[in-house]
Amino acid sequence: MSMHYFANPTHFTRLAGRIQQWAGGLAAGLLIAGLYLALVVAPADYQQGETVRIMFVHVPSAWMALFCYSFLAVASAVALIWKHPLADMAAKASAPIGAGFTFLALVTGSLWGKPMWGTWWVWDARLTSVLILFFLYLGYMALWQAIEDSQKAAKAAAVLALVGAVNVPIIKFSVDWWNTLHQPASVLRMDGPAIHPSMLWPLLVMALAFKAYFVTLLLARMRMELNLRRIRALRLADRTS
């Protein structure tokens, strides 16, 4: 069965619908388990107290922020090189999800920062990089919005995604470089000593829950996009016949 079997919208929609149900169930189950582990089972930190529990949302969100951008870049490359129609859709569908996770990482980071650093925001290298990543997502989505012809928009957005992907490590490096030059003395580092297993487990379960949630949402958005295109095509056929 070749990839082109799934390029057929009907095959894809059927399969995606089935996977989406499973992934949705998995996400719900993992999220409940993860939240139980994170909020009830995991011990409070002896230094940070209960606020450490923000980490169980913050860290997986930050991972997903990067994961989604990588997914976006790979999907864009596939779309540009092999011109696979579903790749464009996957890239387009993943961007708002990634932006959402990035935003969540920023907000939870800020909430965590208040008790830890006594301020809502510090220009810490990681927070700054994530903020810039958020801008990259916004730019990508804005470009999709701005170009009316969806095929042109797809190609332009794919070029931008690849340019962004090349730049993400450079930006990250430059921000680290900048941060070491301007390191404020009072800032605690987020990665303290090696993480205790009682905290590692909830973190991993939450990370998996987020991944499953991503798959669910991605497939839902792709199916929606396919249906929208079908409606557009029908309207067009209606108008010209």
Partner: protein, 202 residues
Amino acid sequence: MFQGQGIACDRGERRIFSDLDFSIAPGGAMVLRGPNGSGKTSLLRIAATLLGAADGRLLWNGSEILADIEKHRTRLHFVGHQDAVKGALSVWENVAVWADIRGAGDRCVDAALAAFEISHLADTPAQYLSAGQHRRVALARLVASPAALWLLDEPTVSLDAEGTACLRRVIADHRAARGIVMAATHIDLGLDDVELLHLKLP
């Protein structure tokens, strides 16, 4: 010999035309006819490699054009809806710049201006020209640097009778030198021995 085989074109998720074949021999001319929206401009842009065809092959003397796009571009002139004339440059400069970029130098610029009867405007900044004079400047580029294939999209728009006559003479000379012309026009250019290609609405 310029050929297209089974050319198809998609615009905005819909197919404009498909399975289009054409063949133009050296010295030949093909005029595209059809209502608005039938894909005349799209076909010319595909022939100019500005637009990718959804299907089919383009051949020049039997060899695949897409295998060496840049080579194909050097042997064609494309005059589209826009004149690519800069108001800040004089008429002479406007023609010379393109001849220069295409590697022909400015040897033929004066002859090109003469062919379209705009020699007297040579030093006038193009911003003071009328629409028809603009068009003549754009068309003068055809003569200023040599190219075997001319792709003309509504070349007579805003030209007066004298301008159209200039164009007719220039095309005749081009064909006499075994050049090929593919043009979309609504009016009869008065060319001899023209092949018509009728495009229909999808």
